[in-house]
């Protein structure tokens, strides 16, 4: 095709005059519209290439030998027999990679393969690279490991009580080696205000551990080429941190390490730190000179884990007679499993992140993260705060009942509001929580349902707040948290280079929408190259819901620079002011006379002729001066906070205790929905995941330390038939810090699911289930206990006229 034909084609695809007039009326051209994703068709046609889809010439396959003991000293490893096996190319053990790693620079406590001790069933001790998986597996059987078995703890409170049997060497001589982190913070006079409270709710909650179960298992490929450069393809959601850790642990020049993150088949926090497989493929590739791949089996994924911490939470919450929260006193034990992971951050988050969306006069939390001989807990969607959110929102339901106030009304009376600070001094700017509450109250017909539905059916409400990224990066530095580089072609095509990780949430698409909005190019003229450390400027990764806000701002910054040049060049040609030129719909046009226009490619060419090759970088860094002035005040400090409210409707079968969640209404304040389709997708996926944790998921272990159910059949996650109806109600508060006002939507909307369901169960049948998950045996037992008390006259029958016997007794 000749260049002129391209021009014709481009004009044919560009906006009509009418559309340009309309465009002039609208605030945004692309932002806020229900558009397709940039990667949607590639995914729906099976063409997207995920890590395990990559096969390199001469590639070897590796497997990791894992500990059968929950806690043991390694006395010796003999790999000689395994090395003799046909097809085996190399074997590495801990001493081959003797440098510790860890996502937090001040808490590195893991080895690529264990050296001195194993700390959970599944801890890696050796890795074999062979011509195929079968040979590698066979070689694992021939490796002889001599262990000295040690006493072990599967229960956090027990580990805490036995410092004489430490899982890790104590950090200080007198310290308890089973404590990973302890935080105690107090804001205001908690004890006094509790004493003065009209009512106090006091309860103990237990959150069973859960795990991410992304459908794609972890996979990595390492390749060490003859120039001495290491390339690792990985299913990581933090390529930049992996890049740094690989270089440090393997003692390589960072510039000679390249990390590429292909599309990821789900992550949810489960791929947000380096794992043993990445170090193993890299080391084995360095030894063999061949590409090496490791694909975790599904069972290995359950052990690699890093899912949600089990938490035991004791709460005392006091309110005055009007329902205003006077004091919250929280004491929490986190079961960290065998290693540190993000543990320090999780420990803070377990307390720091529940201080909104409500005002509270005073607040104290005391959180202790404990090591146990189980796979390491870490961050899962809603890191560290989903558990305490369950506790506090049920506490509020208890207070509302004690004071006979509608629970939505109680939440309204404690509104935090916008442009204010929380009790722990976080700066909250936009806040759409009131609108979220109103949206779910209205959509669910709350007023006609709460305490009005017949016995067995009920509704519950809960609210929450979450961060849009953290103001401080994981390793202290002053550089931008996110950066974008744009390159403009003479055809009008714009390439976006960005370190951001597309993990299904739509970050590639978000970048394309912004470029299309700012530069007026059609969406299919934008190409995204993301998460390749050789070519993309640094973004810190897909965690803490930071990408839309941070990369989005970086992208606006970069595009703005090009836009300025293009408008200037066109304005010079038309002899008008640059602000009279608009870029939209594939055109540069005159806002005063939309008949005067040129294809956007011509405008780019004019600018290139005038200013030289068109390209720009943009970056974003977080505000650093807004956090609380106390130790730990930086953790949980975010540029913007999102808000959510849910109403859940349930039906409880009194004979079986089965909880059928019928529907969840999700009101979420995402600042501005850059594409409502994607925002709704995040809201629905989040609410689904919370629902799953509420009624099904249990990441638990047998007495031997073996995982109870390391398969997708036995570890229950919801199918299409289990999942309730989900209705998304987007609230837009337009945040001053977010790109076009946008905040996060990927994690916040998970938080209220669990307490909303718990509160709905109470409304349905009058029992509080304070332990997760709400399984039929647990609910049934609670119904029995209530029935006994009703029979004894200690309680009135729930939601029924007295005199009628409720009798949810056995055989009823």
């Amino acid at each position: 095709m000749k260049l002129e034909d391209f021009r014709e084609k481009q004009i044919a695809g560009a906006a009509s005059d009418e559309e340009l007039h309309e465009a002039l009326e609208r605030e945004f051209q692309v932002i806020g519209r229900r558009l397709r994703r940039t990667d949607g068709l590639a995914k729906s046609s099976g063409r997207a290439i995920f890590t395990d889809d990559i096969s390199l010439p001469g590639m070897l396959h590796a497997k990791i030998l894992r500990s059968p003991h929950p806690h043991a000293r390694i006395l010796g490893i003999d790999v000689s027999k395994a090395l003799e096996l046909d097809g085996v190319h190399a074997i590495v053990t801990g001493s081959d990679v003797p440098e510790t790693y860890g996502i937090l620079p001040w808490a590195r406590d893991e080895y690529a393969l264990c050296i001195d001790k194993v700390r959970y069933v599944g801890d890696g001790v050796a890795a074999v690279a062979a011509v195929d998986e079968e040979s590698a597996n066979e070689a694992l059987d021939l490796i002889e490991v001599e262990y000295e078995v040690l006493p072990y703890f599967l229960d956090a409170e027990e580990a805490l009580a036995h410092p004489e049997m430490p899982i890790h060497e104590p950090k200080k001589p007198d310290a308890n080696g089973n404590i990973s982190k302890h935080v105690r913070l107090e804001f205001g006079e908690v004890d006094k205000l509790l004493e003065d409270s009209e009512v106090i709710a006091e309860a103990e909650y237990y959150f069973e551990g859960t795990t991410h179960t992304a459908i794609e298992p972890h996979c990595a490929i390492g390749w060490f080429d003859t120039s001495g450069k290491l390339t690792v393809w990985s299913t990581t959601q933090v390529p930049h941190y992996l890049h740094r850790e690989l270089a440090r642990v393997l003692d390589l020049d960072v510039a000679k390490v390249r990390v590429i993150q292909p599309p990821i088949g789900g992550a949810f926090g489960g791929k947000s730190e380096p794992f043993d497989l990445e170090f193993c493929v890299a080391k084995l590739a360095m030894i063999t000179g061949r590409p090496v791949k490791i694909l975790y089996t599904r069972e290995e994924v359950f052990y690699a884990h890093r899912g949600r911490h089990p938490m035991l939470m004791r709460y005392r919450t006091g309110a005055d007679k009007n329902g205003r929260i006077q004091a919250v006193d929280a004491s929490t034990i986190l079961d960290g499993g065998g290693y540190e992971s993000f543990g320090l951050v999780t420990t803070y988050y377990s307390g720091q992140l529940i201080t909104a969306p409500y005002t509270m006069e005073s607040y104290r939390f005391d959180s202790t993260r404990v090591y146990t001989n189980k796979p390491c807990s870490g961050p899962k969607r809603g890191h560290g705060s989903v558990q305490p959110r369950f506790a506090i929102e049920v506490q509020l339901d208890r207070l509302a009942e004690a004071l006979d106030i509608d629970p939505i009304e109680l939440r309204r009376r404690n509104l935090l509001g916008s442009d204010t600070r929380t009790v722990n001094e976080f700066l909250v700017r936009s806040n759409g929580f009131l609108e979220c509450l109103g949206a779910v109250e209205h959509a669910s017909d709350w007023k006609d349902k709460y305490r009005q539905l017949p016995y067995g059916r009920g509704v519950g409400v809960a609210g929450s707040c979450y961060i849009s990224g953290t103001n401080y990066p994981i390793y202290p530095n002053e550089m931008p948290q996110s950066a974008v580089q744009l390159q403009v072609d003479r055809s009008g095509r714009v390439a976006v280079f960005c370190g951001a990780s597309e993990i299904g949430q739509g970050s590639d698409s978000m970048l394309a929408y912004i470029v299309s909005e700012e530069l007026g190019v059609p969406l299919d003229y934008v190409r995204i190259l993301a998460a390749d450390t050789d070519f993309t400027p640094v973004d810190l990764g897909a965690y803490s819901s930071r990408i839309t806000l941070m990369c989005g701002n970086a992208c606006i910054d970069a595009a703005g620079k090009i836009k300025k040049l293009v408008k200037q060049a066109v304005a010079d040609g038309w002899d008008c002011k640059p602000k009279q030129v608009a870029l939209a719909g594939g055109w540069a046009f005159d806002v005063k006379d939309t008949g005067r226009k040129m294809p956007i490619s011509e405008a780019f060419n004019l600018a290139e002729a005038k200013f030289g090759t068109l390209g720009a970088t943009g970056s974003y860094n977080t505000p650093k001066d807004i956090h609380g002035d106390y130790r730990g005040g930086t953790i949980g400090s975010s540029p913007a906070y999102s808000f959510t409210a849910h109403v859940a409707e349930v039906e409880v079968d009194r004979d079986t205790g089965f909880v059928d969640v019928r529907k969840i209404w999700i009101g979420h304040d995402c600042g501005r929905a850059l594409n409502p389709v994607l925002v709704e997708g995040q809201m629905e996926g989040s609410a689904y995941m919370g629902f799953a944790e509420a009624v099904m998921e249990q990441h638990i272990f047998k007495e031997t330390g073996l995982h109870n159910a390391p398969s997708l059949l036995d570890y229950k996650i919801p199918t299409s038939l289990d999942t309730p109806e989900l209705e998304s109600l987007i609230v837009e508060s337009v945040d001053p810090e977010g790109p076009y006002g946008a905040k996060e939507a990927g994690e916040g909307p998970l938080h209220p699911s669990i307490p909303a369901i718990a509160n709905a169960i109470y409304d349905a049948v009058g029992v509080r289930i304070d332990r997760l998950p709400f399984t039929p045996p647990r609910v049934w037992m609670a119904l029995q206990l209530r029935a006994d008390r009703e029979k004894a006259g200690a309680l009135a029958p729930w939601k029924r006229e007295s005199g009628r016997t409720p009798l949810p007794a056995a055989g009823d």
């Binding site: 099976g46 889809d53 046909d86 088949g265 739509g506 995941m689 996650i717 299409s720």
Partner: protein, 176 residues
């Protein structure tokens, strides 16, 4: 038969497989599943391996039109049958209505479950052009999705069904 526990002595079988309309004569290790033959021998990486034990549905393909978990199907069972993978769903000139609809509604987030889900949905729509929500939910009950909460997937399938009934593409249907 050669022993299976020594890889060097694996039994290789010559088999004829018909996949997406193409007939292939292949040598495959006799313990291979259909998924392994598709991914490792034919290079068809559309079907995914999420669990390799029949629990997740990411590996779903059509076997004579019937949704089948290829990760637990011995490859020999596919001999003499028509195998259709996600790569064979669409005509060469345009996406299948389901693919287009998934793209429009955001039915694929990470996309890892998507090829399996589309095969189950395609079999449903081949048999029933006007499925109810419940029929869709039942048809997908063997395919786990961890990203979407399924809602946008149902919307996509309903949109595609309407498009197929009216012999139009979803994009036209939506006027976008």
């Amino acid at each position: 038969m050669a022993s299976l526990d020594r890889p060097g002595e694996l039994l290789i079988e010559a088999i004829r497989l018909t996949v997406n309309g193409d007939t292939h004569d292949l040598g495959v290790p006799s313990h291979y599943t259909l998924l392994e033959a598709l991914r490792y021998v034919l290079g068809l990486t559309g079907p995914k391996q999420g669990c390799d034990k029949g629990d997740c549905g990411a590996c779903t393909v059509l076997l004579d039109g019937v949704p089948t978990l290829s990760c637990i199907l011995p490859v020999q069972e596919a001999i003499g049958k028509e195998v259709t993978t996600i790569e064979g769903l669409a005509a060469p000139d345009a996406p299948h209505a389901l693919q287009d609809a998934f793209d429009l509604t955001g039915g694929a987030q990470c996309g890892f479950c998507t090829s399996g889900i589309l095969m189950s949905a395609a079999a449903l729509l081949a048999a029933n052009r006007s499925p109810t929500r419940l029929e869709i939910r039942e048809a997908l009950a063997g395919n786990l999705c961890r990203c979407t909460g399924y809602t946008k997937i149902y919307e996509a399938i309903e949109l595609a069904a309407a498009a197929l009934r009216e012999e139009r593409m979803p994009a036209e249907l939506k006027g976008s």
